[in-house]
Structure formats: C-alpha cells, structure tokens
C-alpha cells in the first residue's frame, strides 16, 4: 500500500472533476443543465467506485444514479419552471454557517477513520473476518459483499427490493409520468373535479 501509483493520478482526476461538477450544480440556474450534470456526477462517482474496488456499489450507482434518477428529475422538471430563481445573499448565510460546522465536524472525524484497506479496522475485524473466512466454503461466490447481500441476508435484501419498488411506483404515480401531470381529473357524481384549467365537461 501507499506510494504513488498511476491509479492514484486517475483517482485524483476523477475526484477533481467531481468537485467541479458539484460546484457547477450549486452555481447554475438552468434546471435542465443541473439534471444533466447530476447524471455526469453519478457517472464519475461510479467510475471512482470501480477504482476503489467497490464494484457492486458502482453497479447500483450506474443503474440508479445515471438511469432512473435522470428520468425522475426530468419528470419533476415537467411540473416546475425551467430556471431556478436566485436566492438573496442574506438567506444564504444561515445554510453556509450550518455547512461550515458540519464540514469541520467531518474533518475532525477523519482522524479516527481507519486507513483504506486496513486489515485491523473494525469493519474487517469482528464479524467481517468470519464472513470472509466462511464465504469461500459455504457459498461459492468470489465476492464477499455479493454473498452477504444475496445469500446471508437475502430476506433483508428482498424486503429492501420490495420497499424500493413501492417507493418508485409511488413517485411515478405522484409525478404523473403517465401524462396526467398537472391535469388530473375525477368525476364524482358526474361532476368534473380537479381540472386545472377549469374546463367543464
């Protein structure tokens, strides 16, 4: 471990672009450009996850971040303006204060984090060691994370899948991606209710 490897430079390039994209998301006013940039952010972060050997996280990020959330954000944009209104400076001071405090707390916590790939870190010491030792014999999968998610905790994962599916379905219905955005109608007792333009019949 340690030392300057070529992948370190690649990681640094990816992280620098992540910072640029994040700043642009904050600064830009065009909502469409922000949606596009969020897709780019998720592409970049998934590439970074691959370089950190977290391949299944990258897979999830690719499927959710680049695919579903872009479409969802576009569906949400159908209901709003195309441009964000600028926020006055006085209203930005409070959030800036909170962000500074939280950022300082996080920098303070960095010192307690184990090094990347540390074999003695808490995550690798107790139950993790058992999983790593037993997976090879009990479940014939090369990836321990996949074995834990799909086999040891498969009922848990199944429940999560159901919950995420329900949440996605609910969001789809709320956003009206079936073309009813902003113009839902109902006909109790033969009367039109809830037509946005007030058209009768």
């Amino acid at each position: 471990m340690g030392g300057i490897t070529p992948t370190l430079f690649l990681d640094m390039g990816l992280l620098a672009m992540l910072v640029v994209v994040a700043m642009a998301v904050v600064r830009l006013r065009s909502l469409f450009a922000i949606v596009m940039l969020q897709g780019v952010y998720s592409l970049l972060s998934a590439a970074w996850f691959v370089s950190l050997d977290a391949v299944d996280v990258a897979f999830t990020e690719a499927a959710v971040g680049a695919g579903i959330s872009t479409v969802l954000m576009l569906g949400a944009m159908l209901l709003t303006e195309r441009e964000a209104k600028p926020v006055p400076l006085q209203k930005q001071l409070g959030p800036l204060f909170v962000v500074c405090i939280v950022g300082l707390a996080m920098f303070y916590a960095v010192g307690d984090m184990p090094a990347f790939g540390d074999a003695l870190s808490p995550a690798n010491s107790y139950v993790g060691a058992d999983y790593i030792a037993a997976t090879k014999n009990e479940i014939i999968l090369p990836n321990v994370v996949t074995a834990v998610l799909a086999s040891y905790r498969s009922f848990d994962t199944f429940g999560e899948v159901v919950v995420v599916y329900m949440a996605g379905l609910g969001i789809l219905l709320l956003l009206g991606l079936n073309g009813n955005a902003g113009k839902w109608r109902a006909k109790p007792n033969g009367q039109n209710v809830g037509d946005k333009k007030g058209e009768q019949s």
Partner: protein, 107 residues
C-alpha cells in the same frame, strides 16, 4: 512487454480523463441545450471506455460489465431527455405526430 502494455493502458486512461475534462467544459458553458445533450452523451461514452481501460489496469473484468450497463443507461437517459424536449412529456410513443411542430416527422 507486459509493462509496456500497462503503461499504454495508463496513458490511454489519462487521455480519456483529459477528454472528459474538455467535455465537462462544453457541458458547463454550452450555449444551447443540444450542446449539453451531446456533451453528456459523449461523456457517458468516455466513461464506458474509461471503465474498460481501468478494469484492464487493475486486472479485474468487472469493469467491463459496468461499462455495458452504462452504455445501456446512457442510451435510455438520452432518449428520455430528447423526448422531454420534443414533447414535454415522457410517455409519448416514438412514432407520435404532433401537428406542425418540427415538421420533420410528418411522413
């Protein structure tokens, strides 16, 4: 030979990163929306290539799988964005014709 190939891969990845940075500039400054759509699309392609090269560098084949998934996702996202701008809705079928607008899809 092995070493030379490794350095070739690393160099390719570096140049892909440079290309990604250039596309990022176009994405941020793009005057029209279509510049941005094009930039995002080619950015996705660059990411797919980067993942493939990177999986060669670290010697794991998983990156190629993610690259394939990315290519598919990129396509879906581009189609969704373009449909959004053509019809302001996402549920229109691909051969939908809407009066005079655009005019090109009137057969």
């Amino acid at each position: 030979m092995e070493q030379a190939l490794h350095y070739l891969n690393v160099g390719t990845a570096m140049f892909l990163l440079v290309g990604m940075a250039l596309l990022l500039g176009r994405l941020l400054s793009g005057p029209t929306l279509y510049d941005r759509i094009l930039a995002v699309n080619s950015f996705g392609t660059k990411t797919v290539l980067f993942l493939c090269v990177f999986s060669l560098i670290i010697g794991r084949q998983d990156g190629v799988d993610i690259g394939i998934l990315y290519a598919l996702m990129n396509f879906i996202a581009t189609i969704a964005v373009l449909k959004f701008f053509r019809y302001s809705a996402l549920d229109v079928s691909m051969n939908y014709k809407r009066g005079n607008r655009g005019g090109r899809d009137r057969s």
